[in-house]
């Protein structure tokens, strides 16, 4: 099976460079999701960077808008817009808003989002529309684990199984950390598997850094009939930069320009994955 570790490495590099240039932003989960995004945009999604509004494309809703850097880096790397534009992240007049905003015209952005707890409902509406229209495309939604503390997410989880939207696939970034600390200390989430299952979803727990496992999981989600699927993707916050891995202080912090070189050196060491 073809893997996309090199692409994920490139995405991480672009994330670090754009965040250092911006001077603020969310480093930890952006790095942690790079493998999921590399697999999605290089293997799973039917999309066309040269025709972002292609009517038959699969759609990806980023509910956790704060990990915009991983989405932007992935889109630029895939050819949606010039890589140099990543340097405008979070700056006045940029198409790369702190949290994605459709209004600003960046190709490949399906939804303006960032207030937690809203994206899965929107993704559900998209999936319901495709069912009505007998379209065979799929909708993906990226959620954070801490985000699952928002009650509105569970309204969407309940409604998606009720309407049997098997064309909907959620991915939970299960890094176990949020701003105040470990999720299980801030507000217990486990057992996530049991909770999603009891709401009627097809649940797949997967290593969020193992490309083969991710691809298998997405493929199995596509085959599931009558139920939406959630991938509980176990990830490491800050993955690729050893000195900040699993450190929740790096949820919402960007590397300084001085720190960048060291971070890129660390990233280099993880280039081929040990």
């Amino acid at each position: 099976m073809k893997t996309f570790y090199e692409q994920a490495w490139q995405i991480r590099k672009l994330i670090l460079e754009s965040l250092a240039e911006a001077g603020s932003g969310h480093t930890g989960s952006s790095l942690g999701l790079a493998d999921v995004f590399a697999v999605l945009y290089h293997q799973v999604l039917h999309h066309n960077p040269l025709n972002p509004d292609w009517e038959e494309r699969d759609r990806l809703v980023l509910s956790i808008g704060h990990v915009a850097p991983v989405l932007y880096a992935t889109l630029a790397h895939a050819g949606y817009f010039p890589v140099e534009e990543l340097k405008t992240l979070r700056k006045l007049g940029s198409r790369l808003q702190g949290h994605p905003g459709r209004d600003f015209g960046l190709p490949g952005i399906e939804l303006s989002a960032g207030s937690l707890g809203q994206g899965l409902s929107v993704a559900l509406g998209m999936a319901m529309a495709d069912k009505m229209d007998n379209k065979h495309r799929r909708t993906y939604c990226i959620l954070g684990d801490g985000e699952l503390q928002e009650g509105s997410v569970w309204e969407a989880i309940m409604a998606a199984s009720h309407h049997q939207t098997d064309n909907l696939c959620a991915v939970v970034d299960r890094n176990g950390l949020q701003i105040d600390g470990p999720t299980e200390q801030v507000m217990k989430l486990e057992s996530l598997e049991d909770r999603w299952k009891s709401f009627g979803w097809n649940v797949i727990s997967v290593d969020g850094h193992d490309h083969a496992a991710l691809m298998n999981a997405f493929e199995s989600a596509q085959k599931m009939k009558g139920k939406p699927t959630v991938l509980l993707a176990k990830t490491i916050m800050g993955k690729g930069v050893k000195s900040i891995e699993n450190d929740y202080h790096w949820h919402g912090k960007a590397p300084s320009k001085e720190q960048l070189e060291g971070f890129l050196n660390e990233l280099n060491k993880s280039r081929y994955y040990d």
Partner: protein, 317 residues
Amino acid sequence: MTKWINKGSKPTRTGFGEGVRAAGSKNDKIVGLGADITQSVGMHFFAEAYPERFFSLGIAEQNAVGVAAGLALSGKIPVFSTYGVFAAHRAADQIRISLCYNNLHVIIGGAHAGISVGPDGATHQALEDIASLRALPNMTILSPCDATQAFIAVQKAVEALNNPVYIRFGREAVTDFTVEDQHFEIGKAQSMRNGRDLCIIATGHLVWEAIQAAETLADKGIEAAVINMHTIKPLDEDAIITAAQKYEKIVTAEEHQITGGLGSAVAEVLAENSPARLLRIGMPNRFGESGTAEELLAKYQLDAKGIAHQIGSWINS
């Protein structure tokens, strides 16, 4: 001058619901969303006529607004109706971000507006919904005065707009008086009565009460013009400025808190453009309570008699 004639009484929610069904018969992109109170908010007309385009989402308004956004992003025109209190407050963040920031064409029905909801009491009487939604960019707010106008307003919202729309309407049967072939333009106030001494700018159910109040005042030698401000946002500023210059005395009347609603919106326009004496009639910064619609409108001086009384005291003060 907009023609009107007393055609008997009919709930504005029925006008809204029949309007959604009529819009649905002309446009198969329209989909309906229900949050358990389907009949109560007038959506059963559409749900029964087009069951394949109606989705039940349970008592979960936040999700319903998000689902509406997703449907709109897929080319549908969703209509989601619930009580105004739940739409404007429970789902406020979803309306702000998923609908307004994304600027999506979704129609939100805000049922049970005002104190005239009656016996259910304060929890279910939407009296702050306009205040909550009026500040949102991209939002249009409609407040039709009767069932006929509600029927027209929802169809216009579907045909003429491409942004989020909140349509506010009430529970009780009220006088249905505007004509079916009226000129109704979103953002353009309707002149209902000419005057001389002052102008009442009313919205929703209180337009009829204001017309009746003007008749009472006329018996006492006070000639009040009446304007139906059926669109709260975007506000017809020209109509307000013209009225201020002509009458110098302006009264607003609404089934809403005097803070943040039509009264505030008019005050803003007057202060910036053409100062005039202003009396805001509405709920005076307090919650509602149980009682019949009639009793409550009387208690808070929002019926014709109360409006005439408030204006009479004000004009002589």
